[in-house]
């Protein structure tokens, strides 16, 4: 013990130096956006490649579940395909020919695999194995076949980091499907299987079992993507809003296949919003 103390006293200059530099770096990364981004990008590239290796091993243990999930999705898509009306040749004059596929497709889905995922902290993040090389950019939404997962926060060449839905700082605009009323979905930071719906007034008739889906009021997710099912409804003490809890449709504990949503119209939407001179800053 005395040797340890003697060592600390002997190297006090170096220790104080390291401490002061740590304070400076903390100030730097906390206050300067550019350095913060550079730090996060550097970290996500390095950590991503390590996580990818460990994920490759883990994949084999989850193959069965993933297969079932994908088979279920295939079945659902096949059903949708059956319902599609065949184009009748008689009404050729009404048939629209698309010159460019971009004209008709608003959302593009880029499949990706989750290589790192937290769900036990208050503000959780995840990482996927696709990055800027696969035209993924910050701000894109991420969904799985079961529902909303989150949105992309920062991108390196081969990996991207996203803010999970399980993050108390990541509100999402949602809609109560039967009534069409808009509200906000925000995780409460406690249970990875449930979340809260905010700003729903008591005049909306909400009952247990109603679906909560994404609203069309955002440029990140397509509309009507399932978020969860209502499990409990009660009026709060003031009678202003309803306290609604929902069971999330995505099981974050075994998240693996996800789709990144690329909104092809986002530039149009953003430029329209930015051009509006009356817009509040």
């Amino acid at each position: 013990m005395s040797q340890l103390i003697a060592f600390l006293i002997r190297s006090r200059i170096v220790l104080v130096f390291l401490g002061l530099e740590a304070i400076c770096l903390w100030l730097l990364i906390g206050n300067n956006d550019y350095q913060k981004t550079a730090f996060i990008n550097g970290a996500s590239g390095l950590i991503g490649s390590v996580s990818n290796t460990s994920r490759n091993v883990q994949d084999y243990f989850e193959l069965k579940d993933v297969n079932q999930e994908l088979a279920a999705e295939n079945a659902r898509l096949r059903m949708l395909l059956q319902n599609q009306q065949p184009i009748s040749l008689d009404t050729l004059d009404q048939l629209l020919l698309q010159a460019d596929s971009l004209d008709s497709i608003q959302y593009r889905y880029i499949p990706a695999e989750v290589v790192q995922n937290n769900f036990r902290q208050t503000n959780n993040f995840f990482m996927i194995n696709k990055g800027s090389r696969d035209s993924i950019a910050a701000g894109m939404g991420v969904i799985s076949s079961l529902g909303i997962v989150g949105k992309i926060r920062s991108v390196s060449e081969d990996f991207a980091q996203g803010i999970s839905l399980l993050n108390t700082k990541n509100p999402i605009s949602i809609k109560h499907k039967p009534s069409g009323r808009i509200g906000t979905l925000l995780w409460n930071g406690i249970n990875a299987k449930s979340a809260d719906i905010l700003y729903m007034t008591p005049d909306v008739r909400i009952s247990e079992g109603d679906s909560i889906v994404t609203s069309s009021y955002n440029a990140i997710y397509p509309k009507e993507i399932l978020a969860g099912i209502v499990t409990s409804v009660e009026t709060d003490a003031n009678g202003t809003y309803l306290n609604i809890k929902i069971a999330l449709s995505v099981d974050f504990a075994r998240l693996s296949q996800v789709y990144v949503v690329k909104n092809e119209m986002k530039t149009q939407i953003d430029s329209l919003v930015n051009n509006n001179p009356l817009q509040q800053p």
Binding site: I13, I23, C24, L27, L28, N32
Partner: protein, 170 residues
């Protein structure tokens, strides 16, 4: 001893406002900055303890950072400068040794000694600032060039100040 303290305090009071109000606006072709405020740190007494020196450097760097809108960069580089200075002064002592109560300046120890004392430290400081500002190593070439030019400009200003305002201690 009192006289040396007052000199240091006056130099801080004059040089820091000069740096953040005047020299901040002088940038040569986008590469040559002028970190004149390093003179205050280089002027601190030789026998001062390294920890006190680093704390002073932290405070100085933070004040400069507030005006440069780069909170943390100048502070980190200044702390590094004071840390290196402590060892550099011991390695690079003048032939006759340091005199007590004498500032490490050109009138006291000569130009050649001051060049080897100050220029490497200023260069390290400038390179640290520009590398941290760049945030990655892909701009390393540009950062080194900027560091070199900045170090030379700052050094010229620091040397001229000493010829104008400092006399040999008796």
């Amino acid at each position: 001893m009192n006289r040396s303290y007052s000199t240091i305090i006056i130099s801080f009071l004059v040089i820091l406002p000069l740096q953040v109000l005047v020299f901040r606006n002088f940038v040569l072709y986008g590469t040559g900055f002028n970190f004149f405020y390093l003179f205050c740190l280089l002027l601190l007494p030789v026998e001062m303890s390294a920890i006190v020196g680093m704390l002073i450097a932290l405070a100085t760097g933070l004040i400069v950072d507030l005006f440069y809108h780069t909170l943390g960069i100048h502070a980190a580089a200044s702390v590094l400068l004071m840390f290196l200075r402590y060892y550099w002064l011991r390695i690079n002592g003048p032939r006759s040794g340091y005199e007590v109560n004498q500032f490490p300046t050109i009138p006291n120890y000569g130009f050649t000694w001051y060049l080897t004392y100050a220029l490497p430290l200023i260069f390290m400081h400038a390179v640290t600032v520009f590398l941290m500002e760049a945030g990655n190593v892909s701009l390393a070439g540009q950062s080194l060039l900027r560091g070199l030019i900045t170090a030379i400009i700052s050094f010229i200003f620091i040397v001229l100040t000493q010829y104008f305002f400092f006399k040999k201690a008796r």
